[in-house]
Symmetry: C2
């Protein structure tokens, strides 16, 4: 079952009666999908233009009709993956219950979203730390922004309303880092073992609880 064939067929079968620019956007998607697929066991840096093009079912030179360079493609991939992340956080945000409820549901939505969009999250965590160049820069920026938003959200909880912006940011960074670690563990699990998943989720809950408990005794 060749991925290339799949893409080609999928494209062709719905090629009838579609506008020209729509078809262009479809191959663009095919390129992004191909890249994401190949990234399963490779770093972005070790990904070649020709390979991606071939896997998307087009000739290497046609690649340039959609992206200026591989870095360009990479940045588009970052945006796409961050949209996944933002969708998730929006879902997690809408229940401003107690600490314990927040932890429980947050970890649950995290787990669910990671499993549903494994490739995106694998890409994000890998390139966040391991990458170089424009792609890593883009992720760093986006994640910084993300932590800022989390810091604001944290400020709304009881016991945190009087924290300084700096301290809130510190706590947000800690949470983001810890949860990225959890995401890494989730996407790096070789076999899809539900028990292992639950174990990791339990660890995530405990880590968050430990952090939150620290809030009670905090003095800046």
């Amino acid at each position: 079952m060749d991925a290339r064939t799949l893409t080609a067929v999928a494209t062709r079968q719905s090629d009838e009666q579609v506008s020209r620019q729509e078809r262009k956007q479809r191959t663009r998607q095919a390129l992004l999908d191909a890249a994401l697929r190949l990234l399963k066991d490779r770093t972005f840096a070790g990904l070649s233009l020709r390979e991606v093009a071939k896997d998307a079912g087009i000739v290497p030179t046609a690649f340039y009709r959609h992206f200026e360079s591989m870095d360009d493609l990479g940045i588009a991939l970052v945006e796409r993956a961050m949209r996944s992340l933002r969708t998730m956080i929006r879902e997690a945000r809408q229940n401003p219950a107690t600490y314990d409820d927040a932890i429980r549901s947050s970890v649950h939505t995290l787990h669910t979203h990671v499993r549903a969009n494994e490739a995106h999250f694998r890409f994000l965590t890998r390139e966040r730390y391991g990458g170089t160049g424009p792609v890593q820069a883009a992720i760093t920026t986006e994640l910084r922004l993300f932590a800022s938003e989390l810091a604001i959200d944290l400020g709304r909880f009881e016991g945190l309303s009087e924290w300084s912006a700096e301290d809130l940011r510190m706590m947000a960074d800690l949470i983001v880092t810890a949860m990225l670690g959890i995401v890494m563990e989730l996407v790096d699990v070789r076999t899809a073992d539900p028990d292992a998943d639950e174990e990791i989720a339990a660890k995530a809950r405990k880590q968050l609880r430990l952090i939150v408990l620290g809030v009670a005794g905090w003095s800046s």
Copy 2:
């Protein structure tokens, strides 16, 4: 100022009167150094055998006299970098004072060691998350072991003596992940700004304090 020339000269000037195997080990070192040097702005995956060989001042084929493959070289690099880390932790371990003292001195030694061995720590953090294949596997294993040792150390502190092994491990993982995040920030700072360094160190202390404070309220 070519690194290749530097290495070659440095080798030659002390070539006189050294045993054969000693000289071999010296070029082996040159290879490791070259790799580490090139890794400053590249992923290990994007590092070519020829490049490393050239930078070490030998011809590509001579590389095989020292390493079976690039992955082999990578694993040797992991061992070398982990020795750095272990040296550090041994130094940090020898003062079993109060929590606050432990945090202060730990962050201090961390900061010092990272600045003294930037290349090693950059390599470790990058490949830990970003890598693939044998190199990442080696780092993961070593770091897991490292966290286990930390968990044991933690068990000796007051308030933690009755924690379950699992909970201690959870806490150790959280600390390791958080500190690796700090290390990442340290080695990714573009310019060597002492103020930025102190800011990061302060954040590290606060994060550790927040975690430690959580211990007081913990109930498994």
